[in-house]
Symmetry: D4
Subunit: 252 residues, 8 copies
C-alpha cells in the first residue's frame, strides 16, 4: 500500500467517511497484502511465469494430476518437472492436450501461448548431457524465451563448437550443460561476451563423483562471465536465464 | 574477413592486380585476424571493458606496476585485483592518481570516465563479507555500472533486509556475498525477480570448511534465479553482472 | 548407596548385627545396584519415556512385532521408528489398536495416555521435508508434548513464515526440518528466542550430497540458539526437544 | 504495536487529536518498530542478553574498543569473543575494569551484575579442549547462568567421569566439548536425561581433519538428547544453552 | 631351501649322484619354493590357516562351489566370506556338512578340527553391528581361536559394558565393532590393556556417510592400543587378531 | 582392593581394631582404587608403562617441565611426545640426564631401566617417514621393547625390502610407516605372518591430502593382518605394539 | 589444405582456369576442412583408429546397432564400450560376425584386420580387476596392439609378480589395473622403465569409497613413470597406451 | 642369471672346475645380483638418468649439498628438486657451476652433456602455472629431451592455443600444466594424437581446493590419450614423459 493509500484511509477516518473498525480491517492485513511485504507475496515466481511449475519428483501421479488440473482450470499453463511417464499418463487423462518431453522429464500443458520475450542458446558437450539441456530448453520455451540448441559440441572436437560460435553469440544468454571435465563453459565464455550459465551434469563415472568434477571445474572457470547452478539443474538454469532476459527487457 | 573481402582478393588475383605471393601472405594469417576466428581474438574481455585487469596475487609490485604503466600509457584505465598495499605503492609511483581500495584489495587508475551502462545491487550478510562484496562493487563501478551497497543485512536479523528490499529490487542484477550458512541469496532471490549472483565467502570457521558450507547452500538454493561463482570471487561476480547488464543493453 | 547406608552397614558389622559374609554380599554388587552406578542403570531413556522405542530398520516384521508385544504386555506404550507397512501389518496382528503413521514411518500403540508436559513447534521448509518433521512430531506427541505444525514455510517465500512467527514463538522449543540450502533454521532462530533444533534433510539432488549442504549450512548458522542433529534424524530432534521440555519442568 | 494502539491512533485522528501527518509519521515505521515485525527488531539477541556481544576476530583492537565503549557508555555490559590480548589492551584503556579470559579468548566488562537464571554443566574430554569449554562457560556466566566445570573427564579414563556424573545431572543443560573421537557426549548423554550440547573441537591431528572426526561422531551419537554446534563454537553452545534455560523459566 | 640343502645338491652334482638336468629342475623353481622367496610362497595365509578362504562376493555360486570342492578334496577346511544363501545351496550340494552362518555371511565346511590356539573377545555396540562381529567371530573359531561374544554393550547404556569388562579383560585380543559414533573402542581400550581391533561398521544413516563417522572416530581414539581395519571388515579384524594370537604363541 | 582386603577391613571393624570413621575413609575412595572400577583406575596406561607420557604439543615448556619433575620425583621415567627443542631445554634444567630425540620429537628421562619384554621391527618406506617411525621406535624402547629399524625400504626399489625380509620376520610385531601411496604395509604383510601396524604419514603433497592417500590405501590393504592408526601417530602404533607384545607374554 | 594447394587454386584463378565463385566455394569451408582447423577435424580419434568407438552406456540397443551398422557399411571395424548383452544381441542381428567380450563389456565387429603396431602388457592385482583390464586389453587388440596379460599378480603375494617381471619389461607400455590399496602400479613402476598407466578400479568396499583409495594411492605413487586415468577407465588407459605406441613409431 | 649361466656353474662344479664353496658364494646372492632380481637392483631410475635426483624439500641445505657433492665427485650430473635459494647457495659452494632455476625450484649441476633422445612440448594454461611446467621442462632438458615451451595458452583465449597447435603436434609427448578448471589438457588432447600428460596445479582459490578441481577435471577428460600425475608434480610428469620417449627409442 503506497503511502498515499495510507494517507487516504486516515483522511477518510478523520472525515468520518470510514469507521474505525473498517479501517482496522484494512490495516490489519496490510503488511502482507498492501505494502512492503505485499511485494513478498507477489514474489518472483508469480512475476516470471514460473509459478505454475510442479516439481514432480516424490509426488504420486495422482497428486501431480490434481495440482495440474487446479492450475489448468484457473486458465494457467502447466509445467511439471522431473516427471515420469506415469505422471504424464495421469495428467493427460485430465488435460488431453498435454505433451510429454521424455528427454527433459517435463510435462507441458499450454492453453495460452507465452509472449516471446527473448532468446537463449542451450549448448551441450555431449549427447549424454541432453537431459539437463532439454530441461532448460523446454522450460525456457514454456515461458516465452526462444531457444537455439547446439548439442554435442564438446571440447574434445573443438571445430564443432568453432563452427557454431557466431550463431551462439547472437543470443542474450547462454546455457551450457557439460559433465565429466566440465570444460565447455570455460571455452564458450572465452569466445562470447554474453552471460554463461553453467550446468554441471552427473554424466560420467569414477572420479566424476556424481557431477563433482564438472561442478568444481565450472566454479573455477578461468573465463569471465560464468554463473553456476546445481548439478543436473536444467530448470534452475532456465529460471536464471529467464531472470536475465526479463531484467534486460525492463531496463530498455 | 567478410566473404566480400575474400572475393575482392580473388578478383584482384584474377585481374593480375595482386601477386599470388602477396595474396598468400594475406590469406595465411587470415583465420586469426580477419574472419571467423578473428572474433576469438577480439574476445569477451576486450569487449566488456575488463581487458585491462591485472591479477595481482603472486605478482611482484614491480611486475604489477610495469603492466599497469603499459596499459596506462596506451590510454587505458587500470584495475589491479588481489592487490596488497605494497602493489599500490609501486603503482602510485608511476600513476600518481591511482586509488587503493583496501577492503576490496583493488587498485584503480582512471583517466577516462567509464560510460554509465546500468545498475547493480551489492549485498552482504555480515560486515565480514565486505571484502568480497567490495571487490565486486568497485569492479562494477570501474566498468560503468552504478552500484548500490546494502551491507550487513543477513538473515539472523531479517528486518534489516526487509527494510531495503524495495530499493534492492530496482537494480538490474543483484550480487549477494555471504559466508557461514550462505542463506541470504535464497532469501533475496525469493523476494526479487532479478538475476541473483551468489558469492560464497570463506568467512567462518570449523565446519564451514573454508567456504564449502556457503557454496553448497547457494548451489542448493530453494529459490529461483540464482547463479553461483567461486568462493570469495567478487571479481567473477562483477564480470557476470557486467555481462548481464550488457546483454540487456544490446537487446533494446 | 549413600554414605549413610555404607555407614549403617559398618555399624551393623561392628555391633555383630550383620555377619561379614552378609556384608560382603551387599557390597560386592554395590557399584551396579546400590550407589553411583545404579544411576547408570536407570539411565535417560528409562526416565524420559523413550525407552519403549523400537528401531524398525533392519529388523524383520516378526522381530518388531515380538518386541512390541513384550512391551505392550508389560503395560507399556509402543513406538516403532523407521517402520514399513510390512512391520505395521505384523504389529497390528498382535496389537489391533496400533496406528501407522505413513509419512513419519512410525507405528504407535497406546494404552495409557501420556501426561501433557509441554509444547513444541515443528516446522518444515518444504512439503518434501515432511517425513523428517512428522517423525519428530509424532514422537513428541507420543511422549506427551503438544505439537504445532508449520509446514512449507521455507525462505523462498518468506511471507509464509512471517505470517506464522507469532504462533511459533509461543512454543518452548522449535524443531525445523529443511533440505537443500538449509536456510530456514537461521531465519527462524533470528526471529524467536527459543531453542531451535535443526534437522537437515536429504531432500534435493546434485551438490546437496545427500543432505551435506543443509547439514553444513545449519552447523554454520549465523543466528544464535541452534543445535543440529543428524541428517533425516527427526527422532533425534524429538528426543532432544523432550529433554529440553523436561529440563524446564524440573526446574520450576 | 498491539491492535489497541493502532485503534487508539485512529480514534485520535478521528477526534482531531492527532494530525494526519503525525499519524503518518507514527505509522510509516510501524512494521519494524511497533507491531508484527517489531518482534523481529527486538529479536532474540536483544532479549537473551547476548546483544552486546562483539565478535573480535578480524576486527582491529581500535574497532573493538570503539564498539565496546559505545555499549558501555549506554550502560551495557560488554562481551568480546575471539579476542586476542591486543584487543584486551585497547579495551582496557577505555574500560579499566575489563577482564581478559585468556583460555576462552574472551573480554568481559561488567557494570551491572546479571540476574542468576539457571545452571549449566560444562564438561571437557581433555585439557586441550579447555579453550572451547571456557568460551562457553564464561559466556554463560556473563548472562547469569551458573556454571559447574568438569574438565578432563574423557572416556579413556572413564572412572573420572563416573565420579562426577551425580553432580553433572543436577544441571539444567550440559555442554560437552571433545575433540579426536568425540565420544564423550554419547557417554554423558547415556547417563543423564538433560539436554546435551556437543561442541566438537579441532583438537587432534591427522585424520581428525580439523575437527571433522569429532563432528561426525557427535552427529551420529547413539545416545538420545544430543544437539551439535559448529566445531570450536563454544559461544554457540552457550547461546543454545541460554535459550534452553530461558525457555524453561518462561514456562513455569 | 636352507643353505645346507643347496650345498647337498651341489655335492651330489659334484659326486655325479645327480644329473645336471635333474639339478636344474630342482633349482629353476627354487626362488619360489625353496629359499628366500620360498618364504613368500609359504606366505602368511598359508601359515595362519586362512589360505583356504574364498571371497564369495562377485563370484557365481558355481565358481564358489568349484573352488570349495577343490580345497575340500585336498583335505582342507573351507571358509567362504561375503557369501549369500545361493552360494551356500551350491556348496552344500558338494559338501553336505557345510554350515551357513547367515548373520556373518559365511560358509564353513570342516573335516579336521582346528587346534585351539588362543582366545579373543568380540564386542558390538549394538545389535545391528552383529554382521561384522560375526564375520570376525566365526572366522576366528574356524582357525582355532576361542571367541567370547559381548554384544549390544554400546556407550549409550554404559552399565552393560561395565558389567562385562572383567570377562573381556581375560582375552588376548579384543575385536570391537561399532557404527554411528564409533565410541565403543575408545571406552573399551580405556579399560583393558589388551590390543583392541576396531571395526567401523556402516550402520547408521545421514552424516555417518556409510561408515566414515565411525572410521574417523576410531582412528582418532583418545585411548591407547587401538588398531583400525576397513569399514565392515570383520574378516580383516579376525586375520589381524589371529596374527596377534600366533605372534604371542611363537614367543613363549 | 581384592576381596580379601575388603574382608580384612570388615573383620577389623568387627573386632574393634578399626574405627568406623577410619573404615569409611578407606572405603569412600574404594570404587576407584580397590575393586570393580579400581580396574578402571589401574587402567591400561598404568599397567603398560605408558602412564608417565606427557603430550607436549600445546603445552608451554614450563608446564611440561613441571609435570616431568613431578613424575621424576616420584621415581618414574619420563616420556614427552610432540616435544620441541624449547621443551627439552626446560626439562633438562630440572632433569639433567634427559635426552632429546629430535627426529622423533620426544624427550626421555630414565632413572630405572625398563625390563626387556619383547621385540618389534620398525620400517619406513622413505627417509622422510623417519619422524613417525622414530616416535614409535623410541617409545617402544622406552617401555622395554627391543627395536630393529629398517628404514627407506619402500616399494619403488623393492630389492631393498626383499633383502631384509628374513630379519623382519623375526620380530613379534611390525610397525610400518609410509606416506604417499602407502603401499609398503601391504607388501610387508604379504611376506610376514606377524601383526603389521600401519602408520600413514603426511609426507607428500597435492592429492595426498595431508596423509589421506596413505591412510585409505592402508585401510584397504589387500594383505591380511594389518591394523591402522591415525596419520603420523607413531606413538599410537607403539602403544598398540606394546599391547600386542604384552598380550603375548601374559599368555605363556 | 597445404599451402601448395592454396597456391594452386590461386594460380588457377589467375589463369582463368577456375571461376571466382568456384574458388569461393572451395575456400569458404576451408578452415574446417583444408587447413589449420582441418587438423582439428582430422583429429586424434580419426588418426588413431579409435574413431569408430561407440560408448554404449545410456544408449538403447537399437541406437547402438544403428550406429554400428552405419560404421560397418562404410567398411569400418566397430567397437562398442560399456555394452550389455542386450546391446550385443541387437548388433549381432545386423553384423553376425560380431563378438561379445563379456568380461570387458565390449562388442567388436571386425572386417579388416588392424595392422600390428606394437605391444603392451596388461596387469591386474586381483581377478576382480579383470573387467577394467579386459576393457583395456581388447581395445588395444582392436587397434593392432599386441597384448600380454598378467592377471592376479597383486602385492599380497609378491612372488607371482616377480616371476613375470622379465616378460613384463619387454613391452612398450604397461597398463596396471588395481583396486583397494592401489599398490601394484608403484611396485611395477619400480621394476620396469617403461611408461606405466595406472587404472584404479572400484573393487573393494568401505573406505575404498568406490575407487578413491586406489586413485589417491596411484596419484601419489612413490615410483617414477606413472600416469593415472579415471577409476575403472580401461578404455582410457588403452587410448593413452595407443598414443604412446604410435608416438614411438612415428619417431623412428 | 639366465638358465645357461646356472647350467654353466653346475657343469663347472661337476667337472671340479669350481669348488662347492665358490659355487655357494655365487648362488647365495644370486637372486639380488645375478638373475631375475638383479633387474630390480638396476631398476628404472638407474636406467633412465633420473637416479641422481635429490628431493630437496625437508632436507637441510647441508644435507642436499653433501649428497650433491657425492654424486658430482663420482662424475654424475646433479638435479635437486623442490629446492630453495638456500639450498642453491650451499650447493654452489661445492659445485660452482651449478645453476638455480628459480621458477622451477630446481638446481642443476652438469659436467657431461646429456645425449639428445627426443622432444617434448610443455604447455601451461596461465603464467601462474609456470612453476610446475618449468619443473617438468628443466628436468626433461636435464635428461636430454628437447623441450618446446608454449606458455599461457589457456582456453579462456583459445586463439592463442590454435595458433600454436601445429608446432605442438610435432613433439613426441605433450605435458600440459593447468590449474583452476583444468580444461586445457582436454582441449589439447582433442587436437593432437600424441600422449598428453596432464599436471593439475594448485593455482586458484576457493573451490579449487588446492588443486582438486583441476585434478578431477583432468581425470574425467572427455578427450582420449590423457594420463594424469599428482597435483603440482612437474617432476613426475617429466619422468613419465621420459619413459615414453625412451620406450619409443627402444622399439625402433
Amino acid at each position: 500500500m503506497p503511502s498515499s493509500d495510507l494517507s487516504r484511509i486516515l483522511i477518510k477516518v478523520k472525515k468520518g467517511e470510514m469507521e474505525i473498525d473498517e479501517a482496522l480491517d484494512y490495516l490489519k492485513d496490510w503488511p502482507y497484502e498492501d505494502r512492503g511485504f505485499a511485494k513478498i507475496d507477489h514474489h518472483r515466481s508469480v512475476r516470471n511465469g514460473l509459478h505454475e511449475v510442479i516439481f514432480g519428483q516424490g509426488k504420486t501421479p495422482e497428486q501431480v494430476a490434481q495440482i495440474a488440473s487446479s492450475i489448468w482450470n484457473k486458465g494457467g499453463n502447466v509445467l511439471v518437472t522431473r516427471a515420469g511417464i506415469e505422471h504424464f499418463h495421469e495428467v493427460r487423462n485430465t488435460i488431453p492436450s498435454s505433451i510429454y518431453h521424455q528427454e527433459a522429464g517435463l510435462i507441458t500443458s499450454i492453453q495460452k501461448t507465452a509472449q516471446r520475450i527473448g532468446k537463449a542458446a542451450v549448448i551441450t558437450a555431449g549427447t549424454s548431457d541432453l537431459y539437463a539441456a532439454e530441461e532448460a530448453a523446454v522450460t525456457l520455451e514454456f515461458v516465452g524465451v526462444e531457444v537455439q540448441r547446439f548439442y554435442d559440441v564438446g571440447v574434445a572436437g573443438l571445430h564443432r563448437l568453432l563452427d557454431k560460435i557466431k550463431a551462439i553469440r547472437k543470443n542474450q544468454v547462454i546455457v551450457v550443460a557439460a559433465g565429466m571435465d566440465g570444460a565447455l563453459p570455460s571455452v564458450v565464455a572465452g569466445m562470447v561476451d554474453k552471460p554463461v550459465i553453467a550446468v554441471p551434469t552427473s554424466v560420467g563415472y569414477g572420479a566424476n563423483f556424481a557431477g563433482l568434477s564438472a561442478l568444481l571445474a565450472m566454479l573455477n572457470s578461468c573465463a569471465q562471465g560464468v554463473g553456476v547452478v546445481n548439478i543436473d539443474n536444467g530448470f534452475g538454469a532456465a529460471a536464471l536465464a529467464l531472470a536475465i532476459v526479463k531484467s534486460g527487457r525492463e531496463n530498455r
